[in-house]
Amino acid sequence: MIQLKLCMVGAFAVGKSSLVQRYVQSIFSEKYHTTVGVKIDKKDVALGAAKVRLMIWDLAGEDCFSALRPTFMRGAAGYLLVADGTRAHTLDAALDLSRQIEAAQGPLPFALVLNKEDLLDEWQIVTPHIDALERRGVRLFRCSAKSGAGVQAMFEHFALGSLKGRAS
C-alpha cells in the first residue's frame, strides 16, 4: 500500500471542505478548521494496480483573519489549489497561495480546482484566462461540490499523477 499526503488550499469559502466532504467520510468536525487550522480526512482508493491511502489535509481557507500555515504542507505529495469559479478574486488568491507555498516549501506538484461548475452561468473566471493557465502547464480540474460532478475524478486523477511523479 502507498500513502499520500494531499493538501487542499484555497481562499475562504471556495468549497474545499465541501469537496472533501463529497469524497470522504470524516471523523473530525469542521471546528478543527477554526482551531487548529486543518482538518484531516482519509480515503482508500485503488489506482490501477496500486492500493493508495490518501490523507487529505484540508487547510483552513485563508482570509483576512488567518494566514496559511505552510508547515502543514510539509511532506505533501501535492496540493489542490481550489478556487471558486464564480468569484474571480479567489483564483488570484489561490495563485498567490501557490507562490507562498513554493516560497516556504519549495516546488510541489499541484492542480488548480475550479469549483461550482454547477453555476457555470455565474462564472467570473473566463475561458481565456483558464486557457492561459493551462498553457503555462497548470493542471486544471473543474468540478462541483454541490452536484458531486468531477469530484472523485479530480481527486483520483491528481493522486494518480502524484503517484507517477513519485515513481519517476
Partner: protein, 585 residues
C-alpha cells in the same frame, strides 16, 4: 576470441597478405575501429578508471535503490576510515561533529533536568498534598510501607495505543493498540497529531525537536518522542512511569536504526514498515491497579482481639464476681473475720479464724478451691458468734448421748438425760467457756446412777443354783440368766455415760464334798456355762469374766451355808474409771 588475439592475428595477416588486410578493411572497417576503441578503453587502466568513474555515482544510486549491498560493503570501510582519521588527525572529525554534538548534549542535559524536576515535583507533591496524606493514612491503615502505597498509586497506567508517524508527512507508519481499546482511525489521528504539533510549534515558535512532548487530558496523555525521521506517540491512561519514557525513546531509536534506509527514502510506500507494529507491541505496557485488597488478616486479627478482650473482660468480671462471692461466703461464715483480701496476682485472704470454724476450703466448696488457689493467712481467735460459742461449749463440755445444748444469749442450756458426773463437771466448766456466762441444767434429768444401781443390784442378787457335781443349768436357772442380760446391757451403757469401766465377774462355786481340784474345776465350769449362755443371749462378752473359786473355805464366814446354796454362780460388778474417754460429740 579475445581482442588481443584479434589484434595479433590482424598484424600477422598484414605481413602475409595485404590483400586480406584490404579486404578486411573494406568489409569490417567500422567494426574494427570500434573494437579497437573498446579494447583501448577496457585494457588501459587509466581509461577503464575514467569510464567507471563517469557512471560510479549513478550505479551506486541504482544499486542502493535495489538493496543495501553497498551500505554493507562500505560500512566497515567507513568505520576503518573514521578510526584512522580520528587517530591521525581528529580535528576534522571534531569540526564536522561540532554542530551536531552541541545541540545533542544540550538536549540530553535538558531532558535529564526536566526528568529531575519532574521527580522533585512529584516528591514535593507526595509529601505535602492531601493525596499524600490519604496515602499515609492508607499506609498506616494497611500496615504497608508508605513508599509501597505511593508506588501502587502512582505506577498505575496503561499504554493504549502507540503510533509511529513519519515526521515530515505525518503519515502513519505503524500502529499498535492494547486489547479492548476503542480507537479512532489511527491514520487520521496520526496526521491530526502531527498537525497539532505543527500548530503548536508554529503558534509558539518552537522548533520541531522541542515541540509538543506530551498532551495531557485528565488521566489520558499522549507521550511524544521525536526522532530525526519518525515520531513515536504513545497514548497512556494513568500516570506515566519514568521507565515508559525511556522505553519509548529506546524503541524509536531502534526503529530508526533498523529502518534507516526505508525511513530516509520514504515516499508513501508502506511495505518496508509492515513489521513496525511488532516493534511497537512491547511499548503496550500496563500495570493494573492493584485491587483494593481487603485486609482480612487485620480484620481477623481485630476480631480475635475483640473476642479475646471480651472473653478476658467477661472472664475477669466473672472471676471478680466469684471472688466477691467467695469473700462474702467467708465473711458470712461464723468463725471467720476477713481483714484483708487481695486478688492481685495471687488470691490471698488474711484474717482471723476460730479454730472451731469450718475449714475455709469446705466453706467455699471444692470447685472454687480448685479454681482460685487461695492463700489462706488466718490467725486463730475466739469468735463470740452463737454457733461458735455453742461449738466451743460442745467441744469443751463433751455432752454425753442424750444431752443437747442450746445457747440463748450467753446462757447455755442443757436438755436430756445426763449422768451426774458429767453434770457436775459441766456445771464447773461451762462458765469457763468463752462466750458463756450461765449454765442452765434445769432441764437435765439425772438418770445414770439409778439405772446403774438397779443393774448392779439385780446382778448382785442374781444367784444360780446347780445340782451336785453338775455344771448344767436347769430351766428355772436359765430364766434367771435371761433376766440378767438387760442389767448387763444397762451396765455397759451406763459405763459410757458415767465414764466408768464396768466389768462383771461370773464367780462359780462348788459345795464342800469332793476334792478341791475337782471342785475348782467344777466351779470354773459352772461360771463358764453361765457366761456362754449370757454371751449367747446378747450380753457384752468383753465385760464378762468367768471365774471358778472352788469350794467355800470351811472356816470362812459362809461355811455354815447349806450345800445346795453353795453349789452356785453369782455376779460381782467391778467398777473402775474408764481408761480411754470416748466422749460423744
Amino acid at each position: 576470441m579475445s581482442l588481443a588475439d584479434t589484434r595479433a592475428k590482424s598484424d600477422s595477416a598484414s605481413k602475409t597478405s595485404s590483400e586480406w588486410q584490404r579486404l578486411r578493411s573494406l568489409l569490417l572497417g567500422a567494426e574494427q575501429a570500434s573494437l579497437h576503441a573498446l579494447a583501448n578503453k577496457v585494457g588501459n587502466r587509466d581509461n577503464l578508471a575514467r569510464s567507471v568513474a563517469s557512471v560510479l555515482a549513478e550505479a551506486t544510486a541504482i544499486r542502493t535503490r535495489q538493496d543495501d549491498g553497498i551500505t554493507r560493503a562500505f560500512a566497515p570501510i567507513i568505520n576503518d576510515g573514521l578510526q584512522r582519521s580520528v587517530r591521525d588527525n581528529p580535528q576534522p572529525v571534531v569540526d564536522a561533529l561540532y554542530p551536531i554534538m552541541g545541540p545533542a548534549i544540550r538536549r540530553s542535559i535538558a531532558e535529564a533536568l526536566a526528568d529531575m524536576m519532574q521527580a522533585f515535583n512529584r516528591a514535593v507533591e507526595q509529601s505535602l498534598s492531601p493525596r499524600a496524606l490519604k496515602w499515609r493514612l492508607d499506609a498506616w491503615r494497611t500496615g504497608q510501607p508508605y513508599a509501597q502505597v505511593v508506588l501502587l498509586n502512582t505506577l498505575v497506567y496503561r499504554v493504549e495505543q502507540v503510533f509511529l508517524i513519519h515526521r515530515e508527512t505525518g503519515l502513519l507508519l505503524g500502529h499498535a493498540q492494547a486489547e479492548h481499546v476503542v480507537v479512532q482511525d489511527p491514520d487520521m489521528v496520526s496526521s491530526m497529531l502531527t498537525a497539532i504539533r505543527d500548530f503548536v510549534g508554529d503558534s509558539f515558535h518552537v522548533s520541531q525537536e522541542d515541540g509538543v512532548e506530551a498532551i495531557r487530558l485528565g488521566e489520558l496523555s499522549v507521550q511524544v518522542r521525536v526522532g530525526p525521521k519518525a515520531v513515536l506517540a504513545a497514548v497512556v491512561r494513568g500516570n506515566v512511569p519514568q521507565s515508559l519514557r525511556a522505553l519509548l525513546s529506546e524503541t524509536l531509536e531502534r526503529i530508526h536504526h533498523s529502518h534507516a534506509v526505508a525511513l530516509s527514502r520514504f515516499d508513501g510506500e508502506m511495505a518496508p514498515f509492515a513489521d513496525i507494529p511488532r516493534d511497537l507491541k512491547p511499548c503496550l505496557l500496563a500495570q493494573a491497579r492493584a485491587r483494593a485488597r481487603v485486609p482480612w488478616r487485620a480484620y481477623v486479627g481485630l476480631a480475635l482481639l475483640v473476642a479475646g478482650s471480651a472473653w478476658w473482660l467477661i472472664e475477669r468480671h466473672e472471676s471478680a464476681a466469684q471472688w466477691r462471692a467467695i469473700l462474702t461466703q467467708i465473711e458470712n461464715e461464723p468463725g471467720f473475720m476477713v481483714v484483708e483480701a487481695g486478688s492481685d496476682g495471687a488470691h490471698v485472704v488474711r484474717g482471723l479464724r476460730d479454730p472451731l470454724a469450718r475449714d475455709p476450703r469446705s466453706v467455699i466448696g471444692a470447685a472454687r478451691t480448685r479454681a482460685f488457689d487461695i492463700v489462706w493467712d488466718l490467725k486463730p481467735y475466739l469468735s463470740m458468734e452463737p454457733q461458735l460459742v455453742l461449738a466451743r461449749a460442745r467441744s469443751q463440755l463433751k455432752p454425753p448421748n442424750g444431752v443437747t445444748l442450746h445457747l440463748e444469749g450467753s446462757t447455755l442450756r442443757a436438755f436430756g438425760i445426763a449422768p451426774e458426773a458429767w453434770l457436775r463437771e459441766a456445771r464447773r466448766r461451762a462458765p469457763l467457756v468463752a462466750g458463756i456466762t450461765t449454765f442452765d441444767d434445769g432441764a437435765v434429768e439425772v438418770r445414770d446412777r439409778e439405772a446403774l444401781n438397779h443393774a448392779r443390784q439385780a446382778l448382785n442378787q442374781a444367784i444360780l443354783y446347780f445340782e451336785p457335781a453338775s455344771d448344767a443349768l436347769s430351766d428355772s436357772q436359765l430364766a434367771k440368766l435371761d433376766a440378767v442380760v438387760p442389767s448387763l446391757i444397762v451396765l455397759r451403757d451406763a459405763a459410757t455415760t458415767a465414764q466408768m469401766a464396768y466389768s462383771v465377774d461370773i464367780v462359780g462355786r462348788a459345795d464342800a464334798p469332793g476334792s478341791s481340784e475337782f471342785n475348782m474345776h467344777l466351779s470354773q465350769s459352772r461360771a463358764e456355762t453361765a457366761r456362754r449362755y449370757l454371751v449367747a443371749h446378747g450380753a457384752p462378752a468383753k465385760m464378762l469374766r468367768a471365774r471358778g473359786i472352788g469350794a467355800i473355805d470351811a472356816a470362812g464366814p459362809q461355811a455354815n451355808e447349806a450345800d445346795d446354796a453353795q453349789r452356785r454362780v453369782n455376779f460381782e460388778v467391778i467398777a473402775a474409771p474408764a481408761e480411754t474417754a470416748d466422749p460423744a460429740p
